[in-house]
Symmetry: C2
Subunit: 322 residues, 2 copies
């Protein structure tokens, strides 16, 4: 079963979520509406709202608008962080498309990100569920703290694996986790079910980000829309580079590059060496481990098409090639 | 009665609000805590939390923590917008101090602003009052929409006065308005009282921003920490410039500057002409009008020291020199 097949189970609700986000991105000022709708439309596969809507089938919430608002809030928050990441990284390309940063001024990009933060907060408030709102606010804090921490400790490339885990939790898994957990809260799920789906979201998010970090090395530059190894080039050690440097002689090589003593050709060669090394398989094995753990969490629920779709998405996340 | 005297009535609660903000600005990563606490401490007079706490005396809320959280949320949101404004404007100085933007990278500045946005959302959630949370989220939307709108329509200097009002509402008055209104909601104030204090917040915020815009022309460059007329220099027409150009020959002069055909000396001369013109008094009269309206709204309440302090603050706002 492909991601699209899993997604098709919730196609109608997903359309409603899309419409809700577009409605929130509209303004009385037409050029602004156009620019913001463009940002919404250039979004990805809607993985996060899809998971919210599939999970909701396990414990249907009484209030459909609250569910749609939660799914839209999660996607709006994701959009906001992507936009600000572009300023933070100074990125000019994302998925082969010009980022907002390359077209708008930095100031406008900051404001566009703030716009989606504000919409996310507003949508979370629309769930009118105090626990959901609180969880959502806490996650916003976790995400932002993680970013600041990474930026301030950015050049400390020699970190333990736990630091990497903490980083990808803040960057990705925290949002997957709140998406599934808040869905359970809206559906008044029993504590065991809430914990199972929360853990599914956490595991899935961790797998998702590890695979993203692998693809940063292995995908075609064309598919990435940027040179391979961009994380390493910007001074960030992700899981493949971490495993690579477990070999003492490679660690020395990485050291030279990360301390800025290597030229561009030296970095290219290092990225290529990591791409062809066992480190990729080691990182992939870890992603698969998280994805399997995610799938196992779903044993808590009756087998249904929606439950199976969530299992399939865990598989898809580690098999995808971009 | 000075602002400090009015503020002294709520000194203990204000200390508690300060402590709450500092607690929220702390992180397990010490250098980050230091940087963020510095941002909090470099804040202004805490006008907004002071108003929240004084207003709360008119309809005491049952839950003290909710009140402190609201006051802290309002100040955190104010801090967040100030920080992002620095990126948006590219400002290097604010109140004579280096802005974050001049010391941190733009990316870090974006993240620091996001940090306080996140904290504001978290603090609003801590009130656990759904209406307050919703009002707060709506205000966040209003503020951000206003900024984006101003940026995208920035070079349209020839706007009606209503556009100026709309702009300063989003920039300043909306936050004063939600501060007072949400305080009434927390205190379960009757509808008439809620409306009276909401209108007080609105009027006070409008007066506050008009005075800020006047001071941008009239205050010493040393007190401003930047050259006089900085709004005009960055292409923004505020109320003094608006009144100035009601005279046809001055309108022509402004046109030349705003269309970028004048050199630096031409702008300096224009700023100086506005500073010495009747436009300043006309704008000041309008600020006083808003401040008087704010004070009149308080006739709804029994005369008490706290009610009188709110009246005094309305007077202070239009009499201040910085």
């Amino acid at each position: 079963m492909s991601f699209a097949t899993a997604q098709a189970l919730v196609a109608d609700d997903l359309d409603a979520v899309e419409a809700l986000i577009l409605k929130k991105a509209s303004s009385s000022y037409a050029p602004l509406t156009e620019a913001l709708s463009g940002l919404v439309r250039s979004g990805g596969k809607r993985v996060r709202p899809t998971i919210v809507l599939l999970a909701a089938a396990l414990f249907p919430p009484a209030n459909r608008h609250a569910l749609l608002a939660l799914a839209a809030a999660v996607e709006a928050l994701h959009t906001a962080t992507l936009i600000h990441d572009d300023v933070i990284d100074g990125a000019l390309l994302r998925r082969g498309q010009s980022t907002l940063n390359a077209v708008w001024t930095p100031g406008s990009t900051v404001m566009a990100g703030d716009f989606f933060f504000a919409r996310a907060a507003g949508l979370a408030a629309e769930t009118e569920n105090p626990r959901v709102i609180r969880l959502f606010a806490e996650t916003l804090n976790t995400i932002v703290d993680g970013e600041l921490r990474q930026a301030l400790a950015g050049h400390d490339w020699d970190q333990p694996k736990e630091s990497y885990y903490q980083r990808i939790y803040g960057k990705t898994a925290a949002l997957f986790e709140v998406a599934t957990r808040a869905t359970a809260v809206l559906g008044s799920a029993p504590a065991g079910a809430e914990e199972a789906i929360r853990a599914y979201g956490y595991d899935l998010g961790m797998a998702f980000q590890i695979v993203d970090d692998i693809l940063d090395f292995t995908a075609d530059a064309a598919a990435l829309g940027k040179p391979a190894g961009s994380d390493l080039r910007s001074g960030t050690v992700t899981l493949p580079a971490f495993y690579f440097m477990q070999q003492p002689e490679q660690r020395q090589r990485l050291f030279v590059v990360m301390e800025g003593e290597a030229d561009g050709a030296g970095i290219d060669a290092l990225v290529d060496a990591i791409r062809r090394s066992d480190a990729i398989d080691q990182a992939q094995a870890e992603a698969v481990h998280f994805a399997e753990s995610a799938a196992n969490r779903l044993a808590h629920f009756e087998p249904t098409p929606h439950q199976q779709a969530l299992v399939d998405i865990a598989r898809y996340v580690v098999e995808r090639r971009r």
